[in-house]
């Protein structure tokens, strides 16, 4: 299997492992330098990955931190600010099973007593991959398959090397917010008809959102 992730001189698995190793906040930049133009999108980026992310997949971003939510209950753009530096985590709907999601959500909520499962937003991968910013007609976001041992459905959104200026980065957040529904948050009991929600510990389900 190893070796299939090499494109010319670009070893996508090795780059994925090395990016951000020294400084996690430069992970996206490190990656773009080593693998420009989204060239690793068609490659597996993790040994735990079943396959690269295809355009017809839907990816979901989970909302756990109250600081990502506005006073009116809608999202602010900060939910997507990780696309600039560390990578913005999403779940691949075609791959994530209920049996994997429940422990993953539970573990996340247990990291911090202020976290609650506020909801989800979703977008098609093709919509994300078609995003641009006004200063460039090149793609602005790559979607990479970065599966984790306990979470094989894990993928990440990285801005590309064509998003340069600080204002471009803000525009990209606006575009991502639109692609993921414009700010409306899907309630957790509506996600997959509530089957994941009902499996979450009632104590965690009852946590109030604390700003």
């Amino acid at each position: 299997m190893r070796g299939q992730e090499v494109i010319g001189d670009v070893d996508c698995l090795a780059i994925a492992l090395a990016s951000g190793k020294v400084n996690p906040s430069t992970r996206v930049g490190d990656f773009n330098q080593a693998a420009p133009d989204c060239c690793c999108e068609n490659q597996r980026m993790s040994d735990y990955s079943p396959r690269p992310v295809s355009n017809d997949e839907v990816v979901t971003r989970f909302v756990f931190a109250p600081l990502h939510v506005r006073r009116n209950g809608k999202l602010n753009s900060s939910l997507f600010s990780q696309v600039q530096n560390t990578g913005c985590s999403v779940q691949r709907e075609a791959i994530a099973t209920r049996a994997e999601l429940v422990p993953w959500i539970t573990a996340f909520l247990n990291k911090n007593g202020t976290f609650t499962w506020i909801g989800t937003v979703a977008s098609s991968c093709s919509a994300i991959r078609s995003l641009t910013v006004a200063t460039s007609d090149r793609r602005a976001v790559a979607v990479y398959d970065t599966a984790e041992p306990e979470n094989p459905a894990h993928a990440e959104l990285f801005q590309t090397q064509y998003v340069i200026d600080e204002a471009d980065k803000i525009e990209l957040r606006a575009e991502l917010l639109k692609a993921f529904g414009g700010g409306a948050i899907g309630m957790p009991d509506a996600y997959r008809d509530g089957v994941v929600w009902t499996d979450i510990d009632p104590v965690l389900r009852a946590r109030p959102m604390q700003r």
Binding site: R70, A134, A167
Partner: protein, 195 residues
């Protein structure tokens, strides 16, 4: 009524004390300092520890504490509700308690200078206009966010005296980076500042 009344949480956001009209539009301080307006009106009611600072533009919470402990101050001035702007400022000040990984996904702790700049911007907003939601990004920078049917605006305070912005309004898009000079902002900011 007690001489000192604290409103908000952790004693940080909004404090009403001795009927002082805390001035959200002129403060340039951060942390426990509060700018005050009409300070001369209350100077004679303050204990010596507080009077020492009356010539300055800021007022320390230590002074409030000293006054309360001395129990020498009484006030008949009516209570005032925390204003929406003060609530936003209070929320941003509470971010100082956040550490790295506040989002569970590796975010950096809020950057103090960036938060200061965002606070200064919020204090410039005219009364009665739509207020932004404060936000903090994964890189630790503070931001302000507006989104309604008419306008989308996202400001990010870079913490080095500059502010990046992206504004959509009436079909037009504006973006750029400006030096953070509250008195000389481009016209595109006027709807944010004045409604």
């Amino acid at each position: 009524m007690s001489a000192t009344q604290y409103i908000g949480t952790a004693g940080t956001a909004a404090v009403l004390a001795f009927g002082i009209n805390l001035c959200p539009s002129t403060a340039n301080s951060f942390g426990s300092e509060f700018a005050v307006r009409n300070i001369s009106k209350i100077a004679t009611t303050l204990p010596a520890s507080a009077r020492k600072r009356q010539a300055g533009s800021s007022f320390s919470t230590h002074d409030f504490g000293a006054a309360a402990n001395d129990q020498v101050v009484q006030s008949n001035v009516a209570e005032r509700q925390t204003s929406p702007v003060e609530r936003i400022v209070g929320e941003m000040r509470r971010w100082t308690a956040l550490s790295d990984d506040w989002d569970g996904q590796g975010a950096s702790a809020p950057l103090e200078q960036s938060v200061k700049e965002a606070v200064a911007f919020v204090r410039m907003l005219a009364p009665g206009i739509p207020l932004p939601d404060p936000m903090v990004h994964a890189n630790g920078r503070a931001g302000l966010f507006w989104q309604d049917g008419q306008m989308y605006a996202d400001l990010e305070f870079l913490g080095d005296g500059r502010m990046a912005y992206y504004i959509e309004r009436t079909g037009d898009k504006h973006k750029g980076v400006v030096h953070f000079d509250l008195l000389n902002l481009p016209p595109v900011f006027h709807p944010l500042l004045q409604g």
